[in-house]
Amino acid sequence: MMTGWQTANTQIIPFFGKPEWIPGNSPDYADKSERTDANKKLRVIVIDDETLIAETVVEILKEEGFEATAVSNGASAIELAKTWHPDIVLSDVIMPGLNGIETGTKILEVSPNCRIILFSGQAATVDLLEKARLQGRSFDILAKPIKPQQLISAIRGTTGYLS
């Protein structure tokens, strides 16, 4: 992701481009709609404007046997959810464009059974969550930095809850 700020300060914070080692983040999901419960792998969409975080989380989830894909903003996630029907959406809260709560709310509209887990490093998200709660939406939240084990157990917990 490029912002005006990064353009001006490339010497201070290095730009993180898309790492070439990560397999393409557009999964082949032509046959996914015909999954059976037996061979089902849980599908996770990871949203973070920090591409490196999104990609590493996806890699970890794949290690753990999930089907996962990374996107860098809310709009792309909503588009993807329409066709890919994720079981879980992991999203950062503070992002350019749609924030995590807005994105989660919209995804629930297209995939009502999807579970939304948010992660945030800012206290400001408390206000946003409170607002969402008042609108009848409640989300799980994890505080950054999140250890991979925490993430996995959180997802496992939710999957259990889901099934």
Binding site: N9, W21, I146
Partner: protein
């Protein structure tokens, strides 16, 4: 008290009376005198003519009979007329026949003064004498001539006695006039003198209770006295109103907690309130005029005087905070405000000023500043924590993956390294906020700006704000790095809050000169955002403590603290803003001089 006058009205009136009386008497005397002279001359002519006729009648026989002795006898009767000097009888041909001389022993015949062709009766005045020629006629035939000469001694005698009488009369009249005018003028001059006395007394003693005595007459002077007394009544009313107002003013001026004073239009102090004397321990003799400068801090005095000169030149109200020495020798800070007092034509005639003790206020402001600094540090810490969270999370994930995927260890560790660099950079930038030196050090303003901006990267990208930096060359100044960082952090965070998503923040640095007239060289940093703008009524207040438009998030101390830090660098902070619906923007302009002098 009587007034001593050189040209008194009384003298003038007397002189006038005398002149009028004198002239009247002289004119009257002259008329009588002239009338008498004319009458006398007429009588002389007719008397002499009668005598000549008598002599002529008596001389007919002697002429016919050629008897001069008899004629002389007739002529000798003229001895009774003292003024006749000579009388002669001449025959028809003009030859001397007989004569009379007043002077005894004289006998020379006198020739007729006229020729044969002028033998008509005539008379004339000549050499102080009267001469008369008359023909002696018998039966229409001239038989002889009478010639009489008379001196005018009688006229001169008369003139002399008239003159003496005139002098006596004029003198007596003038004395009478003098006495009369002495008496009469008192009725005129006394009320005037009394009036003058009263006026003098009023102007000397400033006592408006006195009144000029009333004469009881109904003349012009009485009118004047009445008008004067009426005027005194009016002045007395105004004077007591003025005194009352003055008394109230002094009570008020002494009851206020401020030091107060009045100055001439050129700055000479005229008056101080009681509190001023109590605070400074000076006396009116010491302070009035230019003595007030003695209680000023000698180091500040030139700046104070320079500021005053500006106010004197422009007539603009004076406002400045400076220390004043108390009676015990310690200094306290006073906010001095002075307003010009103008006359009807708009000219400044006075300055009225107060000194308000702001020492406690300054102390509490300083304490507040420290507290706000701590709070700002707290907010900054949160921002930094968030900046660090992302790379930290990435590193955590990369370490986990490196463990799980041994073949990819190199790649994961390389990426982790990069993320750790990023964390190091952030901590390095953060440290700058706390690395505050005692003396100013050289800072590159543009570099500091970039470091501060790095801490706001997340916030900027979250709101999708476009940043347009424009860093000029050679933007080094001497300053306090931590404080400069704080200034920039506050202004950037304000701009981010003011901007809606997709806004634009332009930051420009350039070498420049101060706008305060001092022409000092330094660096100007402008933060331009196209946010909602600041309403004109808020623009003046935004630098005041506790002023905020963001009630739920702001403390209202950010810009106040920022201004304090800028002023600590002897720089300036200005704001311009537009709230026009089609184009809203705000520019904060910071000027940092090349090197601040710390007191």
């Amino acid at each position: 008290m009587m007034i001593q006058l050189r040209d008194s009205l009384s003298k003038k009136l007397t002189a006038m009376n005398m002149l009028v009386s004198g002239v009247a008497l002289l004119l009257a005397s002259a008329a009588f005198f002239a009338y008498d002279l004319i009458t006398f001359r007429t009588n002389l002519i007719s008397n002499t003519s009668v005598q000549a006729q008598i002599i002529g009648s008596n001389a007919v026989s002697p002429l016919i009979f050629n008897d001069p002795q008899s004629a002389e006898k007739t002529l000798s009767a003229l001895r009774a007329s003292q003024h006749i000097v000579y009388a002669g009888i001449y025959d028809a041909r003009g030859h001397f026949f007989a004569g009379y001389w007043r002077q005894p022993g004289a006998w020379l015949p006198v020739l007729l003064p006229i020729g044969p062709d002028q033998r008509t009766d005539r008379h004339w005045f000549e050499n102080g004498q009267f001469a008369l020629v008359q023909n002696i006629v018998v039966d229409g035939k001239p038989v002889g001539i009478v010639y009489i000469r008379s001196d005018l001694g009688a006229i001169y005698d008369r003139l002399r006695s008239y003159g003496i009488i005139l002098l006596v009369i004029v003198g007596a009249s003038l004395i009478a006039a003098l006495l009369i005018s002495r008496v009469s003028q008192r009725t005129v001059t006394r009320p005037i003198l009394n009036l003058a006395d009263t006026a003098l007394q009023v102007s000397r003693d400033k006592d408006f209770r006195v009144r000029a005595p009333i004469s009881g007459d109904q003349d012009e002077v009485a009118l004047l006295v009445d008008a004067f007394n009426g005027m005194l009544v009016e002045i007395q009313k105004r004077d007591s109103a003025l005194q009352e107002s003055e008394r109230q003013f002094r009570t008020l001026a002494n009851s206020i907690p401020q030091l107060a004073w009045m100055a001439e239009s050129d700055g000479r102090r005229l008056w101080f309130n009681q509190r001023w004397y109590e605070y400074t321990g000076t006396t009116p003799e010491e302070a009035v005029g230019w003595g007030w400068q003695a209680v000023h801090d000698p180091e500040m005095l030139p700046a104070v005087l320079a500021r005053w000169r500006t106010s004197f030149a422009t007539g603009e109200p004076f406002e400045m905070t400076y220390p004043l020495r108390a009676a015990d020798g310690t200094y306290r800070h006073f906010l001095t405000m002075a307003m010009p007092v103008r006359d009807a034509s708009g000219k400044v005639v006075r300055w009225f000023g107060t000194n308000t003790d702001v020492t406690e206020q300054r102390r509490s402001e300083e304490a507040l500043r420290q507290t706000e600094k701590l709070a700002a540090t707290g907010r900054l810490a949160a921002s930094i924590a968030h900046e660090i969270n992302n790379p930290l999370e990435a590193v955590t994930n990369l370490v986990y993956l490196a463990r799980r995927q041994p073949p990819n260890v190199e790649k994961y560790l390389k990426l982790a390294d990069q993320e750790l660099d990023r964390i190091a950079q952030i901590t390095k930038n953060t440290l700058g906020f706390y690395r505050d030196s005692v003396s100013p050090t050289e800072i590159d303003v543009s570099e500091v700006l970039q470091e501060v901006l790095a801490l706001y990267g997340r916030k900027l990208s979250f709101k999708n704000i476009t940043l347009r930096p424009n860093y000029g060359a050679d933007t080094k100044v001497l300053g306090y790095p931590g404080e400069v960082r704080q200034i920039f952090a506050n202004l950037i965070s304000n701009a981010i809050e003011a901007l809606s998503a997709g806004g634009c923040l332009t930051i420009k640095t350039a070498r420049g000169r101060a706008w305060d007239g001092s022409d000092r060289s330094g660096v100007r940093i402008t933060f331009t955002d196209n946010g909602s703008g600041i309403a004109p009524e808020h623009r003046k207040k935004i630098f005041e403590p506790f002023f905020t438009t963001k009630k739920d998030v702001g403390t209202g101390l950010g810009l106040w603290l920022t201004l304090g830090l800028v002023e600590k660098h002897q720089g300036s902070l200005r704001v311009r803003s537009s709230v026009r619906t089609d184009k809203t923007w705000t520019v904060f302009s910071v000027f940092l001089p090349e090197s601040p002098k710390r007191n």
